[in-house]
Symmetry: C2
Subunit: 482 residues, 2 copies
């Protein structure tokens, strides 16, 4: 029993035992990595956020005193001034405005639309112009309608059946997807590219079913693009409420040659000067290495932009306020960036990244909140495996706060332009079930935001920034052993 072969086998077994023990212990260490100091710091972050949070008051002002903040509007300008003033009050190390030229598109007076099933027999329906659409002729546009379930139907139908008609894109969001963002992703091409594609087949206008999982009367706007379509060939595009989309679809079954009328009064003006609003706590150890947290200050114009993205802005401001309030002095420079023009241009996000590159500012981590002020469930990370493993080791710290979602995926549109090999990008992931009930519609309003849900989001973001600041990112040179 003690021959050479046995000994070899024993050695193999011993090695195996050691490896498996190591594995066991390392997973133990991960699951137990609830560093007491971190645990207490995070508790104090949540306490301050829930007991003395400022974000809900800030949102109240942004939503109820200023309102919808379309790029280039007077409201967007007011929001820039207001948030700068509020950041000034926090006693940060720097607060400044970063100039950026933004597009200016206006809706004009409210849209009007009806279905005409016989001369003089009309039913009014609820529509709104898509952001960036051209207006209809001054007298409105009336034409027959052809219903499709998506862009791919256009080619099947061909010019003969489409030419001279209004194309009605009616593919609904898929209700059995758990993430409503996935359901949105499966439909939004109709809104973004529908007009551009339909115009190729001679369509005279486009009506798009609102990106909304509920049946209600509110049309939901959102960005669209004509791409390379020559100016004279651009056709007007509107969104129709889900209830009216259902109605139009059933009316078409009864009377395929009914007419649809709509009138919209949009205009494009020359670009105007606007700003990203930026505040900074300068890092105590690495003042020239940056971690940023942000949302976008502009919004659509139908509601007051409370969820999209007033919530993300005030949560991001709250991150810096919480650090000041609990007396945490970050090692890296932490910036809040309120980006201008996410909705119809992304000019703010691009400008920030451009300047960062120009000034050779090293950005290690960026976190965006742009998915509504709902109960936070966790984060989505756009990063490499080494960083992702470090993040996974922090999960136990978040368990008491019911934050459980730490997955790889996208981050946020505004921070996207910062992407390079080194930076860790992240997006807050709140519960998504109600988001598209309000998204880009007249009911994206303050009353639809719950104070606690908003505050929990801010605290959750702050906790993640704290951990990244303390432990560094895996690709950064600032990583320290604790």
């Amino acid at each position: 029993m003690s021959s050479g072969i046995n000994w070899k086998m024993n050695k193999i077994m011993i090695r195996l035992a050691l490896i498996t023990l190591c594995l066991l212990f390392s997973s133990e260490i991960i699951s137990q990595k609830v560093n007491k100091e971190d645990s207490l710091m995070i508790r104090s972050i949540y306490d301050e956020a829930l007991l003395n949070g400022k974000s809900y008051d800030w949102l109240d002002y942004l939503s109820n005193q200023i309102g919808g903040r379309l790029s280039g509007s007077i409201q967007a300008e007011k929001a820039v001034n207001y948030t700068k003033e509020e950041l000034d009050k926090l006693g940060l190390d720097k607060v400044w405005l970063q100039p950026v030229m933004v597009p200016k598109w206006t809706r004009g007076i409210a849209e009007y639309a009806f279905i005409e099933t016989a001369p003089g027999v009309t039913s009014t329906v609820n529509v709104c112009a898509l952001g960036g659409s051209v207006s209809t002729p001054a007298a409105g546009l009336k034409a027959e309608v052809i219903e499709v379930q998506g862009i791919e139907d256009l080619e099947k139908l061909g010019e003969e059946k489409i030419s001279g008609k209004i194309v009605f894109f009616n593919r609904p969001m898929q209700a059995n997807l758990i993430s409503t963002f996935s359901a949105y992703g499966g439909c939004v091409d109709q809104r973004y590219s529908g007009a551009k594609e339909a115009a190729k087949y001679g369509a005279v206008g486009v009506v798009v079913r609102s990106m909304n999982l509920r049946l209600d009367d509110l049309p939901h706007t959102g960005s669209m693009s004509y791409g390379e379509t020559p100016v004279n060939d651009r056709i007007p595009a509107c969104a129709i409420s889900t209830n009216d989309a259902e109605y139009l679809s059933s009316a078409l079954k009864l009377k395929p040659d009914l007419n649809f009328y709509f009138k919209q009064n949009c205009k494009v003006f020359p670009d105007v000067l606007s700003y990203n609003v930026i505040g900074e706590i300068t890092g105590s150890q690495f003042p020239d290495k940056y971690m940023i947290v942000g949302g976008h200050l502009d919004s659509w114009d139908l509601g007051d932009g409370s969820h999209d993205d007033g919530a993300g802005c005030v949560q991001s401001m709250e991150v810096l306020r919480l650090f000041k309030e609990i007396g945490y002095k970050p090692r890296h420079s932490i910036r809040v960036v309120l980006f201008m023009n996410e909705e119809n241009g992304l000019r703010g996000g691009r400008k920030y990244a451009e300047e960062a590159k120009l000034k050779r500012e090293e950005h290690l981590f960026a976190l965006e909140s742009d998915a509504g002020g709902f109960t936070p469930r966790g984060f989505s990370f756009d990063t490499d495996e080494a960083n992702f493993q470090q993040i996974q080791s922090w999960k136990p710290l978040f368990k008491p706060y019911l934050i459980h979602y730490f997955e790889k995926g996208g981050s946020g549109a505004d921070i996207g332009p910062l992407k390079d090999q080194q930076i860790v990008l992240a997006g807050l992931r709140p519960d998504s079930q109600r988001y598209f009930d309000h998204h880009h519609a007249a009911n994206d309003t303050y009353d639809a935001v719950n104070k606690r849900e908003l505050e929990l989001g801010g605290a959750t973001m702050t906790s993640l920034v704290y951990l990244f600041d303390k432990y560094g990112t895996k690709s950064s040179l600032t990583t320290v052993k604790n």
Copy 2:
């Protein structure tokens, strides 16, 4: 290197290696136990719930056609008839009513209250009688007020300072607790026992700060008890809105001898006959072993009881509908039980358990939904370690649905009386942040329930019942190896 000692050590190491390997593999097996069949079944449950769910329509009727369903009311009777009819339509094996005598307390005409800071100088405030309270004298009750932060303050103040006054219980819910149910638990003794305790010190009435984390104008009712207090010593008790609680408190600081007036018109009638509503799919293999799923059909009277607990009722009905719809034939008998009188008596829950015992019906598993129709986060389990470990092994199956919370804890009031050594009790745990915004108040209404959130709850419940039905409970004799 091959001595006896070494060999012994090697043997120990080998044994250790084997044990650690086993541990590793078993944890691997647990984390990978995403049985394909289960995974597909659960997917089909969620698909059916989200694409063709019935629960939201049922809730529409219960809330908007029937309304608040206080025990003994005509609305409660209507709800019994309606839900029985709807269960009849599902083609279950049995549907029946289980008679139970319930208390009948009525609010009478709306309450009225004001703060009087000087003769004739009054400010109206929003109050409602607590459930079970006696009425005030016909002319109302006016007295000075003493504010306390909880029952424990009464003894400190003593009879001298309390006698002849209205005691104002003003301890707020603790906002920095993540579970709002914990915050509720820390305050609700003021509501439940405040009047009983204050009467001992000669108080003439009780005003309780509403159990609400928001500041708003709605008073929240709820059960209270006089315990053994003799009938003639019972004092009226009302809830005051959080805004008015803040107002009263600040007014008392300025004028400690202000008067508070309230008038309420409650009455207690003799017990009346009511019913639990029960439907059953009889088990194919174990027809005499039961698993039940339920909520309570009664509600308070101020709102329409949509979250508390219309949601739990229609979700429980949906469990059986989903099984029928997807063609799943349970091995055990699965019952939906809509309990009567959870709010002010628990008579329905007690009756069901009593009859189950009498008929020697073996109950293996009971699941209650009574925490609102919000996005489900998981379940709380009242069970032993063996069952809890089996439950933990099912977690990966729920991950695609963002259901992550599987903890030991309470279950539900109505199923509590079934507790014995064998049964596994569970409670659905939805996101709790908004629950107490609506709980027992006039805004517990249909519009505050989101269709998808409600449906996700029903699907989550169905998935858990499916797993318990398939694998049995650990204490049951019906457990089979799969």
